[in-house]
Each structure stands twice: as C-alpha cells, then as structure tokens.
C-alpha cells in the first residue's frame, strides 16, 4: 500500500494508463470549465437522457399497438358519437385533430410529470444530482425523447384518421400553423418540466394527480369541440392549459373559414399566449428545480429513494 502521495502533478507514464482519460494538472484545473464546455455538456446531456426514451421504443414494439392503434380506436369512438348525432363534417375533423394532440398531453403527463418521481425511486435522481450537468438538461432530454415519440404517434393518428374518416382540412396560413404547433410543443413540454419538479415535491400524491387531471383537462381544453363553447371555463382553460390554446389555434388554422371554429382569441394571439406560457413554465421549472435541490440537501429525502 502506498503512503499519501501528496503531489497533484501527473507523470508522463500516467497518460498511457487505461485508467487515465483526460489528464488535468490539478483538481482546480479540472474544475475550471469555460461557459462553452458547460453549454456543450448540457446539450450532450439532453441527448443522453433522450437516448433511453428512444431505445425503449425500439426495444419494445408493443407501444405501436398501445400508443398508436388503440388510441386511434379511442378517437374513433368519438367520431362515431358525432356520426350518431349527424354532426357537421368539421366536427369529425375536430375529433381526429384532438385525438392526435392527445398523444402529446398523455406523454407529458405519464412520461414527463411523473418521471422524476420514478427516477428518484430507481436511484437515478441521486446520480443526476452528483453529475456536473444541469438538471434542466435532464428534463429537456426526457421531453425531447418523449416528444419525438409522441409526434410519430400523433402523425399516424392524424394521417389514418384523415384518410379513414375523410377529414378535409383547409389551411391558409401554413407558416403560422407550423409556428403555433412548435410553440404548442414548447409550452406543453415546459408545463411537463414544471410538473415533473412539482411532482417530486409532492411524492405519491402527484402520481394520482396525473390521473385526476387527465379527463378534466380534456374536457376544459375542448378536445372534441371548440373550447369557446365552454364559455368562462373555456376562457380559463385558454389562459392556463397549453393543450387548450394549442388545440384552439390549430383548429382555427386547420379549418380556416369554418363557421364552427369560433374562438375568443385569434391564432396570432394564441401564438403569443403560447410564448408566454413557455417562458413561465420553463422559468418555473428552473426555479422549482433549485428549490428541490435545496430542500433535498436540507432534508436528505427528496432525491433519495425512501420507500
């Protein structure tokens, strides 16, 4: 056994050892990261965290049935309700659009909001907190992994629904539609990031909140009908729930000229609303993460598996 070595300098032979990877002269030098390196590490961490999400899909193809085919059938059920009521054809389109957009909401609730809580239970959260990247990068990685998956699901539901049920879209402003869609995603996943941090604070209650929130949010967001028909509730939803705003804006833009898409706000206004939501939700997520880290370090429980 060697005695205390004392010196922090590295010998030339050390560099050839398989145990040496990125030689630095001292711990102080190793701890000194330029802003560029911090940024790159965080970007790479996003990719790192998104990776298991995408690999998980490839490794278990059951999601094609459970996340695409079956949700499409659920959407179809609402199509047939409208058919039973002999509704105007746009309403069938509303249902198909709503069914596609549900994919994102489901993903945010089940694979974002509740996820950090799981990470804690699996011991990952503690490892994340001891690594040098920002926890925001982890949240973003989770979001992007889930987002890619949900976009695929939403795309298929939209495509198949459009073909099978003969939905006719009428788009005048493609760029605005695309912009609103992207903003919808950023606001929604920003909300997911915020909820993920909140849910770690709330523990098991949060898990049940995920379930409590699903149907009420579908309802007040006007999943299958224009949200304005809900009056005050609809207006409140537009002010708080990205799904409501995104759906309403996309519905207005995808069925331009329809008399059934009346809303409180124009798509442009809703785009601004989504920008504001993105800023607020991501800002809150960042703020809450700091609180979590502080509380976790104070109490010693929040990020460590306790059950």
């Amino acid at each position: 056994m060697t005695a205390a070595k004392g010196s922090a300098e590295r010998t030339p032979s050390a560099a050839r050892s398989p145990f040496v990877y990125r030689p630095t002269a001292s711990p102080e030098e190793a701890a000194r990261w330029e802003p560029r390196r911090i940024l790159i590490t965080n970007v790479r961490s996003i990719a790192g965290r998104a990776y298991p999400r995408l690999i998980g899909l490839r490794r278990e193809p059951s999601w094609i049935l459970f996340e695409i085919l079956l949700p499409f059938l659920t959407t179809s059920a609402f199509v047939f309700v409208y058919r039973a009521l002999q509704s105007p054809p746009e309403y069938i389109g509303f249902v198909v659009l709503g069914g596609a957009m549900t994919a994102f909401w489901m993903n945010v609730m089940w694979m974002m909001a509740a996820q950090l809580y799981w990470e804690k239970d699996q011991g990952n959260l503690e490892r994340y907190f001891t690594a040098p990247m920002s926890m925001m990068a982890i949240l973003l990685g989770m979001a992007i992994g889930g987002l890619l998956m949900s976009t695929f699901r939403a795309g298929i539901v939209l495509l198949v629904g459009t073909i099978v049920y003969g939905v006719v879209f009428s788009v005048d402003q493609w760029f605005l539609l695309l912009g609103v869609f992207v903003l919808f995603l950023t606001a929604l996943y920003g909300l997911g990031m915020m909820l993920a941090t909140l849910f770690v604070l709330w523990g098991r209650e949060a898990w049940h909140l995920t379930q409590i929130m699903a149907e009420p949010v579908y309802f007040v967001s006007g999943l299958n009908f224009p949200v304005a028909r809900l009056g005050l509730f609809g207006a409140a939803a537009l002010g708080t729930i990205p799904l409501a705003v995104g759906l309403d804006a996309i519905r207005q833009l995808a069925f331009a000229g329809s008399t059934n898409t009346g809303s409180f706000i124009s798509p442009e206004g809703e785009a601004l609303l989504l920008v504001a939501m993105t800023i607020v939700f991501i800002g809150l997520a960042r703020y809450l993460l700091r609180i979590i880290e502080r509380l976790a370090r104070q109490d010693g429980k929040l990020i460590t598996r306790t059950s």
Partner: protein
C-alpha cells in the same frame, strides 16, 4: 396431551386430504383478503378522504360531461333525452371497466417497479394470480364509486328517467356479477401484458379500455359501426354487460346492440335482444374471456420466470 402427541394429531390432520384442501382454501382466501386490504391501503392512504373522493369521481364525471357536452354542442340543447340517457349510463358504467382493467396491470407495475415486491409475492405460498386479483378488487372499488356518483349525477342533474320500481333486480345483479368477472378477466390479460412490458406502460390499460369503448356500444348503438366492428362488439362480454344493465335499469331505453340494419338483427332474426338473452350471451362470453385470461396469465407468468422479469426495473 404431550407435545409429541399434539404434533402427531396435527400431522394426521394435515395428512387428511379433505383437511388439507380446507386449509389451502383458507390460505388462498387469507391471501386474497390481505392483497385486497393492501391494495386498498396503497390506493387510498395517500390523501384525505375528500381529495380521495374527488380522485375517484373526477375521471368518470368529466368523461361523461365531455360526451354530454358534445351532444349539446351538436344538438344546440335539443338532444333527444333517450340518447343522452344512453350515453350517461354507458359512460358512467365505463368507470368500472377503466378501473378494473387498470387495477391488475398497475398492481404488477407498482409491485415490480416501485415497491420491488413482485418477486417476493411470486415466491410466497400464495398464487400470484390470487394476490393480483385482490389488488385489482381494491381498484375496482374506486371504479364503483365513480360509476355510482356519475349515474347519481345523471339522475339528479341530467334527469335520467330512473324508476326504482321498474328495475329488473335479478337481471341487474346477475349482469353486474358476470360483468365484473369479465372486467377482471380483461384486467388479468392486461396484467399479463404489463408483466412483459416496460415501466412506461402505465397508460396501456387506458388505451385498451378506450379502444373497447369503440366496439361495445357504450355511447352509441353498435349499428352505426361497420359490420366487422359490430362482430367484434358482439363477441365482447362488455357489450352484453352494458346492454343487460341498461335494460335492467331502464326498461324503455333503446338497445345498443340491435336496431335496424344491425348485425345482431340480421343474425338473430329479431330487432333487439331481451334481458335474458343479453344475460346468456354475457355468461357465454364471460366464460370464454375468463378462460382466455387465465391461459394468457399463465403463459405470461411462465415467460416472466423464463426471462427473469419479476425483479427488473425497466424505466426509460
């Protein structure tokens, strides 16, 4: 009596096949009750009763509201009351299906991924199947709460024409018993799936119940669907369960199965099934689904054992 003699008597009692069978039945029953109690505790002990009540009723009430509002939007307040009643009953009862199907699958995911207890349950003297059924039953109680509140709101707020004197109680009770068995059987199939899939499959039960929603005539009559979809509906016990319960509660309500141009009418030669007919079809389909569920579960259990899936965490 000496200790030796006592042990000898106990031994001879154990050796008696009748006694051993009684003991094993008692053991199964104890295991089932313990699992139900545990399930109820894990379901309910996270909050206070008021929040828990909201949690139980939120989903079915808002799901029903969504449908009622869709009818309202299209009809502009002139919706036919019969159709609204049809939708409210179907949607309210659906709470049982969602909870029943999810209960068993979530018990598998919870015990494997969160509590890491699945392997211990599997090696305990009780059959894991019995323990899962107990856990599932606890969640079914949540579903029952949701269904009762939704139907109650339907009667009080939406004016559902419920006449207690006209309820066909024998058919209602028989249909509920068989219906719940079939729901648990479907839940068992989902539990078998959850045993094989990753942790992120929490919402699979919801996806399955959503898909079943389409073909069982829960919120619109089957005859609106294409013929092949109607055929799927007719082999599902849930279709017959909803029909039997609906007919038992509201004798004048429209049939969800028959009607002009329906597959049923063309096969049966008459317009709509009677309550007894629905009950018999429910019995038959329930037996088939239950046998299929047990077979699927055993296969899944075997595969999980073969691949060492009882003690893995599979998050992504």
């Amino acid at each position: 009596m000496t200790a030796l003699a006592e042990a000898g008597t106990r031994w001879s009692r154990q050796a008696d096949p009748e006694s051993t069978r009684r003991q094993s039945i008692a053991q199964v029953w104890r295991g089932f009750l313990t699992a139900t109690r545990l399930g109820w505790q894990t379901e309910a002990n996270w909050t206070n009763p008021v929040v828990y009540f909201l949690y139980a009723v939120c989903t079915p009430v808002f799901a029903t509201l969504m449908l009622v509002f869709m009818i309202q939007v299209i009809s502009g307040g002139n919706a036919p009351p019969a159709y609204r009643a049809y939708v409210v009953i179907g949607s309210g009862l659906w709470s049982f299906v969602v909870a029943g199907i999810a209960g068993l699958a979530w018990a598998v995911l919870d015990d494997r991924e969160r509590y890491r207890m699945l392997k211990y349950l599997f090696v305990s003297p009780n059959d894991l199947l019995v323990l899962l059924l107990g856990r599932g039953l606890a969640r079914m109680m949540v579903g029952a709460m949701g269904a009762i509140v939704t139907l109650g709101l339907g009667v009080v707020v939406l004016g559902l024409p419920l006449d207690l004197a006209r309820i066909d109680w024998p058919v209602l009770v028989a249909a509920m018993v068989l219906g719940l068995v079939s729901i648990v059987a479907l839940g068992l199939i989902l539990a078998s799936v959850a045993m094989q899939t990753r942790q992120d499959s929490w919402h699979y039960p919801e996806a399955v119940s959503g898909a079943l929603f389409l073909i069982v005539g829960a919120v619109f009559p089957l005859n609106i669907l294409p013929t092949f979809a109607q055929a799927f509906g007719l082999i599902s016990p849930l279709t017959w369960w909803l029909e039997a319960v609906r007919r038992a509660l509201f004798p004048d309500i429209q049939s969800g199965i028959g009607g002009a141009g329906s597959l049923y009418a063309s096969l049966a030669g008459h317009d709509a099934p009677s309550g007894i007919e629905a009950l018999l079809a429910l019995l038959l389909t329930t037996v088939v689904v239950t046998l299929a569920a047990v077979a699927t579960y055993r296969w899944s259990e075997h595969r999980a054992k073969e691949r060492g899936l009882f003690d893995v965490t599979t998050g992504s």
